[in-house]
């Protein structure tokens, strides 16, 4: 029996024990998730006591699949993605023992939903240009500033927050990372309506918000390094899942097939160009996964996001032209507050407008091209003067 087989056998046993210990028919979601956390089966690669067993991450799938097969309660789909995907690994990496013990369990069970307070209106692509100030006052910090593009801010109980604690050093060096209680009376959440009519995101105004120093993650001034870990855990949606004709091209192809009266022969070659590009993007995503599986991770993530955004925008624009007069109609301008975004849901007009965000959110296409040119192709970095002068002196 190899080591791996031994670990697998032990894990299977632990799962069985967990399932024996609870009554699946009666236990509530949060209680079950708490028991799972205590059994070290939340994230097997986390340390013991933090919901894990210190095992390689590959073993997670074994736990997940067995619990799924047993019909155990799972996280609500789409809930607390920021907590589990971004805050948890950051807390695990930078938190003190006390913080890990205190923060990770309610995060995992969903008791504490998290949101992210990084982006600011003045910062944009320049993520380190955070202007929100945190000033120390004994054992607490007092935070003032404005954050934006915060999804779930209106439902979240906690936030990961980056604020400037020193304006006299260069901008990457004066930031500090906090866990912020969203129920603090100084937190004002306002829906941010966007181009589609919906308000997926929020603006968050912070006025004399008090954060105990115990909720600082990492050292004072180390916030950029901590946030970088968080951002590296941000996963972008990759265009073209495995099946062919997914996403925007599926919508356009469907319209072409189902509505013969729309078929303008002048549009046919363009339709087929889009089809080909979508298929090539799909094959590229398949290859990326095969490379990852073969232990050859590459820099294609940025390429896929660029391509996904370009195609989503081009094809949704084309779909409106294909629809012609019907493209002049919209489904609904109500200021809705959707739980999650469905890029290919709703009408063609919505798809077209929402796709405009694909090349902005999570790294603009311009920034991604810089990343590819500089980090992948090794071309010289852009000239900049803001890296070595105090934040307060940077032109903005």
């Amino acid at each position: 029996m190899t080591d791996d087989e031994a670990i697998s056998a032990d894990l299977a046993l632990r799962v069985e024990r967990l399932l024996d210990d609870v009554d699946l028919a009666r236990i509530g979601r949060e209680d079950f998730l708490g028991a799972r956390f205590d059994a070290g089966l939340a994230w097997v690669h986390f340390p013991p006591g933090c919901g894990g067993l210190g095992l390689p991450v590959e073993f997670q799938e074994l736990v997940d699949s067995r619990l799924r097969a047993a019909g155990a309660p799972e996280h609500l789909p789409g809930r607390n993605g920021i907590g589990r995907g971004m805050a948890a690994p950051t807390i695990a990496a930078f938190g003190t023992e006390e913080q890990k013990t205190r923060l990770l369990r309610p995060l995992w069970t969903g008791e504490h939903e998290y949101c992210q307070l990084f982006s600011e209106p003045g910062a944009g692509s320049d993520l380190a240009a955070v202007a929100a100030r945190a000033v120390r006052d004994g054992d607490t910090w007092v935070v003032n500033g404005q954050k934006v593009w915060t999804s779930s801010a209106h439902t979240a109980r906690r936030a990961i927050l980056v604020a400037r604690t020193d304006a006299d050093v260069p901008k990457h060096r004066g930031l500090t990372y906090f866990i912020c209680d969203m129920t603090d009376p100084g937190v004002d959440v306002r829906p941010l309506r966007q181009i589609t009519g919906e308000a997926e995101f929020n603006e968050v105004f912070l006025t004399d918000v008090r954060i105990p120093d115990a909720d600082r993650l990492g050292e004072v001034g180390e916030g950029w390094r901590v946030a970088t870990l968080t951002l590296n855990n941000e996963r972008v949606a990759i265009g073209g899942g495995v099946p062919r004709e997914q996403g925007m091209i599926g919508k356009a192809a469907q319209a072409w097939r189902e509505r013969p009266e729309l078929r303008d022969p002048a549009m046919h070659d363009e339709l087929m160009r889009h089809w080909v590009e979508a298929e090539v993007a799909r094959l590229s995503a398949v290859r990326m996964r095969q490379r990852l599986a073969a232990g050859q991770p590459g820099p294609e993530g940025s390429a896929m996001k660029l391509t996904f955004a370009r195609l989503a925008q081009a094809i949704s624009g084309f779909e409106l032209e294909l629809l012609g007069a019907d493209g002049l109609r919209y489904d609904d301008w109500t200021a809705r507050r959707p739980e999650s975004v469905d890029y290919t849901g709703r009408g063609a007009g919505y798809r077209y407008l929402r796709a405009k965000g694909n090349s902005i959110e999570g790294g603009t296409s311009e920034i991604l091209r810089n990343v590819i040119a500089e980090r992948v192709l090794g071309l010289p970095a852009e000239h900049r003067t803001d890296k070595d002068i105090p934040w307060k002196d940077v032109p903005r």
Binding site: R193, L328, Y330, I360, E361, E382, R384, R396
Partner: protein
């Protein structure tokens, strides 16, 4: 061609200045965005344009109470309306419906339109590039019956100019709206600054206005619409370009204005070229129309193929180079994007314009 004048005269520039001044006073992004939640009625803005500046009467001959101007002057107004995404029925009422009434010879209705008291809409889907092969409305002794989807500015029009299938082919009728047997149902529109509505007739009383060539009248109306839509599109494109240029100059990232990044500079240089050249195409279309130059058919198809796509490109670059703020409801970029994209679909797509052009210049598909 040798007679073409692609520049603007002094009178045209004065008209532009007046329209721009009025629009600057009365149009704001907040007002425009409000139309997305509650469709606006005929605004004070329109009354100002129509009565004080006489734009509703531009294409109406002087003897009918109009200004007797040409597409050259109307183009300047369309440009300014595009620059402001102004929610006014100039294109639909003062150009398309007006030309239809002129061609049909309905002087009575024209006099009302000229005074700016009422507006009219051609009851044809706003995506139509040419008169219908078979109209969806039937004209019978019992009145008009049938349904027309996606009619632009029908919600505010008091006169509907209706192409209807009669016993001997296409006829043109006028109907008063609202009125018995006529239902106008506004629908959410991609561009709520020019909302569309569905129109249903069920035995609606009407007046036949054509003198036998309804098809020709509708074709002329749509052509005038296409010609002036191109000018509206270059207005949209120019304003998007200017907004973007201003923004990249003052927005700093990484300690530099984003307009100092060469990739941004080159994109704006290319866009400047495009927008400028679209201006020549739109101007040539307006000029040939004004001079009744037979090349107007080619000129209109060229402008329709080119200008709409340039406007969309300019609006898309405007959103993209503004970054997150360009995606928000409070910034005007979205208003321009919606107008630009809707305009690109109006009166036939660029694909349809190129197909029509191919026939005109002897380059058949197969």
């Amino acid at each position: 061609m040798t007679d073409a004048d692609l520049l603007y005269g002094d009178v045209e520039e004065e008209l532009r200045a007046s329209v721009r001044r009025l629009l600057a006073q009365r149009v704001s992004p907040a007002v425009l965005a409000a139309a997305y939640d509650e469709p606006a009625g005929l605004s004070a803005l329109w009354r100002g344009l129509a009565r004080d500046l006489g734009v509703a009467a531009l294409l109406i001959p002087e003897e009918l109470g109009g200004v007797g101007a040409t597409a050259r002057e109307a183009a300047v107004v369309a440009e300014e309306i595009g620059r402001a995404v102004a929610p006014v029925p100039f294109l639909t009422s003062s150009v398309i419906a007006t030309v239809a009434l002129l061609e049909a010879g309905d002087h009575e209705t024209l006099a009302v339109l000229a005074a700016g008291e009422a507006t009219a809409a051609l009851a044809l889907g706003f995506g139509a590039a040419a008169p219908p092969v078979a109209a969806t409305v039937k004209a019978t002794p019992a009145g008009l019956s049938g349904h027309v989807a996606t009619v632009a500015d029908a919600g505010t029009a008091t006169v509907l100019v209706v192409p209807a299938e009669g016993a001997d082919g296409l006829e043109l009728h006028t109907v008063t709206a609202p009125g018995p047997g006529t239902t106008v149902t506004p629908v959410p529109s991609l561009d709520m600054t020019r909302p569309v509505a569905d129109v249903a007739f069920d035995g609606a009383p009407s007046r036949r206005i054509d003198r036998g060539d309804a098809r020709g009248a509708v074709a002329e109306a749509l052509r005038a619409g296409a010609v002036l839509l191109a000018s509206e599109q270059i207005g949209v494109a120019s304003r998007c370009f200017e907004m973007t240029l201003d923004y990249v100059r003052q927005r700093y990232q990484f300690g530099r204005s984003i307009g100092s990044f060469q990739a941004v500079k080159h994109r704006l240089a290319d866009l400047w070229v495009e927008v400028g050249q679209a201006g020549a195409a739109a101007r040539y279309a307006a000029d040939t129309h004004a001079r009744r130059d037979p090349d107007v058919a080619v000129a209109a198809a060229v402008a329709q193929s080119y200008c709409g796509t340039v406007a969309v490109h300019a609006a898309e670059e405007c959103v993209q180079l503004h970054g997150g703020i360009g995606m928000t409801w409070e910034h005007p970029a979205h208003l321009y994007l919606k107008r630009a994209k809707a305009d690109q679909l109006a009166l036939g797509t660029p694909y349809e314009a190129r197909s029509a052009l191919a026939a005109l210049v002897g380059l058949p598909r197969a």
